[in-house]
Symmetry: C2
Subunit: 511 residues, 2 copies
Amino acid sequence: MNGLNRFIAIWLVFFLGAGGVFAQEKVDLEMMHRIKSEGIGNSQIEELSFYLTDFLGPRLSGSTNLRNAREWTAQKFKDWGLSNVKIDEYGEFGRGWDVKKSYIAMKAPYYAQVIGYPKAWTNGTNGLVKSEVVLLEINSDTDFEKYRGTLKGKVVTTASNLQLSPAFEAEARRWTDEELEARKEITIGGRTGRYTPEMLAQLRAQRELDQKLTKFLLEEEVGLRLTGTRGNFGTVFHTRAGSFSKDKLPTVPELEIAAEHHGRIYRLLKKGIPVEIEAEVEVEWLDDDYKGYNVLAEIPGTDRNLGTEIVMLGAHLDSWHAGTGGNDNAAGVAVMMEAIRILKDLGFQPKRTIRIALWGEEEQGLYGSRGYVQKYVADRNTKEKKAEWNKISAYYNLDNGSGKIRGIYLEGNDMLVPVFEEWFKPFHEMGANTVTRRNTGSTDHVAFDAVGVPGFQFIQDPIDYGRGYHTNMDVYERMQFADMTQAAVIIAAMVYNTAQRAERLPRKPWN
Amino acid sequence: MNGLNRFIAIWLVFFLGAGGVFAQEKVDLEMMHRIKSEGIGNSQIEELSFYLTDFLGPRLSGSTNLRNAREWTAQKFKDWGLSNVKIDEYGEFGRGWDVKKSYIAMKAPYYAQVIGYPKAWTNGTNGLVKSEVVLLEINSDTDFEKYRGTLKGKVVTTASNLQLSPAFEAEARRWTDEELEARKEITIGGRTGRYTPEMLAQLRAQRELDQKLTKFLLEEEVGLRLTGTRGNFGTVFHTRAGSFSKDKLPTVPELEIAAEHHGRIYRLLKKGIPVEIEAEVEVEWLDDDYKGYNVLAEIPGTDRNLGTEIVMLGAHLDSWHAGTGGNDNAAGVAVMMEAIRILKDLGFQPKRTIRIALWGEEEQGLYGSRGYVQKYVADRNTKEKKAEWNKISAYYNLDNGSGKIRGIYLEGNDMLVPVFEEWFKPFHEMGANTVTRRNTGSTDHVAFDAVGVPGFQFIQDPIDYGRGYHTNMDVYERMQFADMTQAAVIIAAMVYNTAQRAERLPRKPWN
């Protein structure tokens, strides 16, 4: 390093350290205190959680319940005095689908109830189906011929390969300090693909066979298909869904049943012992509206210059359909609603506009957040920027269950490390102190990050999330209200800081 | 200690040590090796487990499935070449009861399936019941009047007070060496009752109120009663049952439903939000036979003197009705069947008779084993001894799930410590090495111990037993076949040693 470079380097450290960042990130501790007091003292978390889960029910994309949930949350925002409340159409989603009845039991070799749920967007049965179960053993194209012409109205199933092990590890845990520290680590290179080309070819072949089977069962007019799922002790995980596209035929009636109950049926059939099933599934298709919607509401910005800029917070309102989407993601919705309520009830008049978004149709592929971004922010394919691209300072998302916040993923945005480290300081004693440059995937912040607008998901304690999400048991009881109260307070603080900051948050390059 | 006493003491140590016990307990290591080889090499555990659970189904006391299970196990004993196989009536039990159909769902505020099972020995519904749920809040006698005359045909429920917590501890575990050592400890005195007189009075008052409620609901001709149970993630624990007595009226139709689903209904009702239920329960009462039965089979003793003496092993064949009684107690039955199969297939000709007993009706209060003891062994009330009292050397029982054997409870029989310590030595490497003088309760060995005949239950690893027993999820998947294989080998060895021992096992004094 030569003398001039050394000078510049020292100057940069001084400038960034003393002027550029640290001075700017001075946190308003009195406001942090007021946010904590309101959030902890007057928490609405439990009440919101009840209404979002027990009262509104499962909120499958396109379903009647999700429509009700949009109306209910929009009304709640109005009741709280938020501005510009709207149920905002973002584009096309697909068909709505409601379960009207679902019953299944084994009739032979003896009567036994079966825990099972209609796979989303599959057809209902033709009244009560009663049939012996046919075990389909299809490993290649030629195997279809063994069954052709014999399956009309029958109950069919395929192999159950699931071995269930006893749980020698706890279902719920909290991150240790060591684990959190390890989450900061970044590895360059050395990332090995999980699949070899042979494995990929095999997976592709299996998928093709699966698709053929789906088509075959439809042609054969099968009465009901039974599928075993992950999960144990009667917890049923949702696998892929049927088709919600308005341009495709729905698949045959299909019930996803508890691993133990499917295992029993499969083992009996493999021993040659006949199994008889009776079942009835009634569904209703909603073809009056194929659009998707987000619920939006605001605390308008008051600053003459910054008031047109926006800080966003959000979570997805839709869920899977067999539980009530407690941890995935009534928890996130309740926390985000509570965060904006705290700020509103404190009478906060932000410099920048604060906008909450409750996304629709996340579970089928981030439809709601991507639709919003496409409509207002930017086209991620053409890279065309739209009105809000330059205005949104940050989007904060919560969608990893109801465990408390332990830190934040920066999606590689180095410039934000010193900012968020300062912002987290008043919350260290509540367990939130990890700022990692790492990415995290699979939820609505990705829609913003994809167009270069800072979008973030928090590091949360993994309490019951791994076991409960996408299951029939993701319900009110899974939600940890104390943890959610902490999360709401921290997010209210993050939103406050973002709204008041002199500059927009620094961005990664995008064009 | 004076000189003569010291001499006697030394002599006693010598006699007991060298002659009285140790010489006698010399273990036939070649036979131990053969038992291990047969049990591990040709294990029938998995096959037996399948038939006892998946194939025979739930085996509620008095039910058709239990009748089938008696026939099936008796036939299996005959197929194996065992002698004196019989289905042995021991006395009166009560009414049989089968579930023919069970369906329940919430219809309002939205459609949702409910995981629930008819409480044993309650009536079926009068076809499909459809009604708003009435929340009964009854805390004193006068509260009944609020509801009198209003409940005919209605669905009713009572409060749900259950708080479900996330599981920060693993469901399955194995005893550590330290925990096993601690199980040897005996505390004299200092045992404090868990209930104060005030608590007992309160419990009694609550029980009386419960009984009044049961009677009230019957008089009011309620359509269906819903009860929340312990358990979470959809696992339903059975609580007390309805009445199987042929002299009493059955109680109103009652479904035990998952804690989460009951919690939802309760919370909605408490908020004043109407909940509508549709349900149908069909049951069949079996009034052709009120007797109870055990299944017995033998390998006859061949010794001229000892051949009339008996060593018994057993487990209960009945189970609760919503699962298939995997760990409680198909596991014990499979292990005991396997233990006697090992000995039979080794061509073993025992000195004493080996008798296996598969007990009926354990879950309602050890009916089968107590009935057997009353019929053949002794009257525990009058202390009258019967034919087998003097003949049975020991009874070995297994009923703590499918976890492997880690030791044995001696029920305070000090004289057996050196015996069983020797017998366990060839199995130390398999994890069985704890001989504790402690008691353990609540299962069929107690019937023998109560009349002074040595009866034992083993210390077993608590794998899924605490979570799974008495639930809808106590099924094939809960059973640990490797552990059960170990248990069968050890029990075969214990039975072998008991059958061949010069003396009957030492007894505690009785009457």
